[in-house]
Amino acid sequence: MVGFKNRYMVVEVNLNPNRDLGTDDPIIITPYNITKAIKDNILVNFGECGLASSAGSFQVKYVNHITKLCIIRASREAYQKVWSAITMVRSIGNVPVVINLLDLSGSIRACKNAALKCEESKFEQQKLVVGASLSADVSKQMQDSLEKIKMLEH
């Protein structure tokens, strides 16, 4: 008997793939609007049944609006559907985005490790782009979100 298992996906949301925008983000991503975008997509592509079968476990666990990193949980049975739906997301709100999977793991612990690593390097990149003018506020938020990752359970 195999128990119920989850899959955890670390994804990055690319808000500006076209590089025609400045450094300001057109939208602030939240768990809510990401969930909505993905669920809409599941509904379009897999219908009510697909949505329902994935809905049990599907959850956006964590979103960092600075580095645009998210952790999404899905059941092992439905994760491919959810992943495909994530891949096919074209916009959040009215903003065109590209969502790209960075890591896929089977336990929250592995996921946390991967996410922390990704956060770190993404933040480095962020600093590179923004330059030295990174406000203390942002750093503080960043620290908070790292803490939040560490606190994640299930």
Binding site: N18, N45, W83, T87, N100, C118, S121, E124, V129
Partner: protein, 646 residues
């Protein structure tokens, strides 16, 4: 693992195309792809205007768009497991839309226009063209637009014929993402093809018109889950199949009869003007390997070459560094101990078609540790405690049959194994082994050989002296017969023989590792760890590779004797660097090509026990992987690491 997106649309007409294309290339690079192909689509009759005029974006233009490109690229490459240093490649591709056989006629091997592109594909728009494309057109890819209703029917025999010829089918995914209607059509159509090809000869590419339709390699692979492709095959469709395709296409283009490379004489100048991107790209940056425009075959070559180099370096450097490396003696026995290191000899034998019989008698190599003050040995092993006498001696005594000496490249690596041997027990082992040899020796091997030969005489002298000094110890002769059915068959025979006095048991471990590879000499490193525990055993390590049963050991028990074999396990030994004497015998005897006979004759007075076991599989495992691998894969790299570790 390298990932490719072989369809970035290019159109001359639109002025905004260039900017889009650069964006797409940048994005693809960021997502971790190792290469893209710019695709030009033409319809109707091909004319001279259709010569390749695709300007490849330079790196500077990419950088202008995205100043922090490199960090992002590294980030994604690390996640995907793509080597950071691998260059980003750009190819030129032509797609011919053909709706009648007459259009398709242009796609023949003699067409010079096609030769200006790296990849050629056809988009069949009618049944007859599709059939033709599968069966005889000179194309690399059959690109079918699945987002519309197919103007022809896919037929299984045709698809099979195409696969037979090595033509690839392309499925583009951008429509899957962009358009809901097209998605429906596409999944329905493409599923059939996927079923029939079962992922073989299938590539997935984007054909993305905007950056919003480009996705990362794994996302693409997962997307094809919708088409019924398993994740593994889908990954292959993004990476491996593409690489094979490119390799093949480029070989066709640049090689005469796919075997002889044709190059301009003034290659440096010429290549740069041909491929303007490469120069900039490679001058720039950390991403590139700095070796210029590496074509894939070259890449493969350089991989193997580099791995060879690594080995060569190991040989020489390790020899030098041998003494300093962990020679650790266990203090278990307080009496006169000689810690002798026996080298594990790994031989890479290049096979000749003919078999040669080579009897080699080896002194099992005893290195004596002077620490324990053994007069005889001390004299041999000069001042240092840590100097081990050289053990690789090859006394070649020709058994009756051996006659000729031919070029045989045998590389013997000695592994440091710590063995305690009593002084009183002299050990001499005679090894007869017969091996097959190959004619083609590679240059490096030759170099090694020469060095080894220089070294050898001294060693032999020493060893001989040992031998003389030592009372004949006798012989536990074993024949190891193995048939390497595969070319790369690694055979490690570990023999430990032991001196017999029960009172002071001595263990001499001799690990022989013979590696037979036909092609390039890949030398396996043998990890050899001796157990500290007192064992009365002979260990034979026989890693059979690839599930072959290489060794048939027939222990010919000669006078069997009490072998008190003590093998001592130094954990540190594992860390020791493999010492290697590379020695080469050039002898050509007669033998069977396939059989190697390894005879070890030992004389030990005392009790005899022979046991086999396969210890330390884990350590040997890397060898196996290395040997079994094709040079193309990551293996060389891995093995490099391994050598360092060892």
């Amino acid at each position: 693992m390298v990932f490719f997106d072989l369809n970035i649309p290019y159109s001359e007409a639109s002025p905004s195309d260039k900017a889009t294309r650069i964006k797409l290339a940048t994005m693809a690079m960021e997502l971790g792809y190792s290469g893209v192909a710019y695709n030009r689509t033409i319809k109707g009759i091909m004319s001279d205007r259709d010569r390749c005029s695709i300007p490849l974006p330079t790196l500077s233009s990419l950088l202008k768009l995205s100043p922090s490109l490199s960090s992002s690229v590294y980030f994604h490459r690390d996640l995907l497991g793509v080597p950071r240093a691998s260059p980003f490649r750009q190819y030129k591709r032509l797609t011919v839309c053909a709706d009648s056989p007459s259009h398709a006629q242009a796609l023949n091997s003699g067409n010079p226009i096609l030769k200006t592109y790296d990849l050629v594909s056809v988009r069949p728009l009618s049944q007859s063209v599709f059939d033709q494309a599968c069966e005889k057109l000179e194309v690399d890819i059959i690109a079918i637009d699945f987002s519309e209703k197919l103007p022809f029917r896919l037929k299984l025999p045709m698809v099979k014929a195409a696969i037979q010829r090595g033509v690839y089918f392309e499925i583009t995914y951008s429509n899957l993402i962009a358009d809901v209607q097209a998605r429906r059509q596409m999944i329905a159509n493409a599923k059939l093809l996927v079923d029939w090809t079962r992922g073989k000869n299938l590539i997935l590419s984007s054909a993305a018109l905007t950056v919003y339709e480009l996705r990362g390699p794994y996302d693409v692979a997962n997307l094809s889950f919708l088409l019924g492709l398993s994740l593994e095959r889908a990954k292959a469709a993004v990476s491996k199949n593409c690489r094979t395709l490119i390799t093949k296409a480029l070989r066709k283009k640049q090689f005469h009869k796919e075997a002889i490379k044709v190059e301009m004489i003034s290659s440096g100048e010429r290549v740069e003007s041909d491929k303007p991107w490469s120069s900039d790209l490679f001058k720039w940056d950390p991403i590139s390997s700095g070796e210029g425009d590496l074509l894939l075959e070259d890449l493969a070559k350089s991989f193997t070459a580099s791995s060879d180099n690594a080995k060569a370096i190991d040989f020489t450097s390790i020899i030098g560094s041998l003494p300093s490396h962990g020679f650790q003696v266990n203090d278990l026995i307080s009496g006169a101990e000689v810690a002798s290191k026996s080298r594990d000899n790994s031989k890479t034998v290049n096979f000749v078609d003919k078999a040669t019989a080579l009897p080699v008698s080896r002194d099992g190599g005893l290195e004596q540790h002077s620490r324990l003050d053994i007069p005889k040995r001390v004299s041999e092993a000069p001042s240092k405690q840590e100097i081990f006498g050289n053990r690789n001696c090859q006394v070649l005594y020709s058994s009756g049959d051996t006659t000729k000496v031919l070029s045989d490249a045998v590389e013997i690596r000695g592994f440091p194994a710590t063995i305690k041997a009593e002084t009183s027990g002299p050990s001499q082992s005679t090894l007869n082994f017969i091996r097959t040899q190959t004619h083609d020796l590679q240059a490096q091997n030759c170099v090694n050989n020469s060095r080894l030969h220089v070294n050898l005489p001294n060693k032999n002298v020493i060893d001989n002296s040992d031998v003389v000094l030592d009372s004949a110890r006798h012989v536990d002769s074993k024949e190891v017969t193995f048939t390497p059915s595969e070319v790369r068959d690694l055979h490690a025979v570990n023999e430990e023989y032991n001196l017999s006095s029960n009172l002071a048991p001595e263990a001499i471990g001799d690990l022989m590792d013979e590696d037979f590879t036909k092609q390039e000499a890949t030398l396996p490193l043998n990890n050899f760890v001796l157990h500290e525990k007192f064992m009365e055993k002979e260990q034979l390590e026989e890693p059979g590779h690839d599930g072959l049963d290489p060794l048939v050991l027939t222990g010919q028990a000669s006078s069997q004797e009490s072998n008190a074999i003590r093998v001592e396990d130094n954990p540190s030994v594992a860390k020791c660097e493999p010492a290697d004497g590379t020695t080469e015998d050039q002898k050509h005897g007669k033998t069977d090509a396939e059989y190697n006979h390894l005879k070890l004759a030992q004389s030990t007075p005392g009790k005899s026990k022979a046991k086999r076991r396969i210890p330390h599989q884990a350590l040997l495992l890397p060898l196996k992987r290395r040997l079994g691998s094709s040079p193309f894969k990551k293996q060389p790299r891995k093995s490099k690491r391994k050598t360092k570790l060892v």
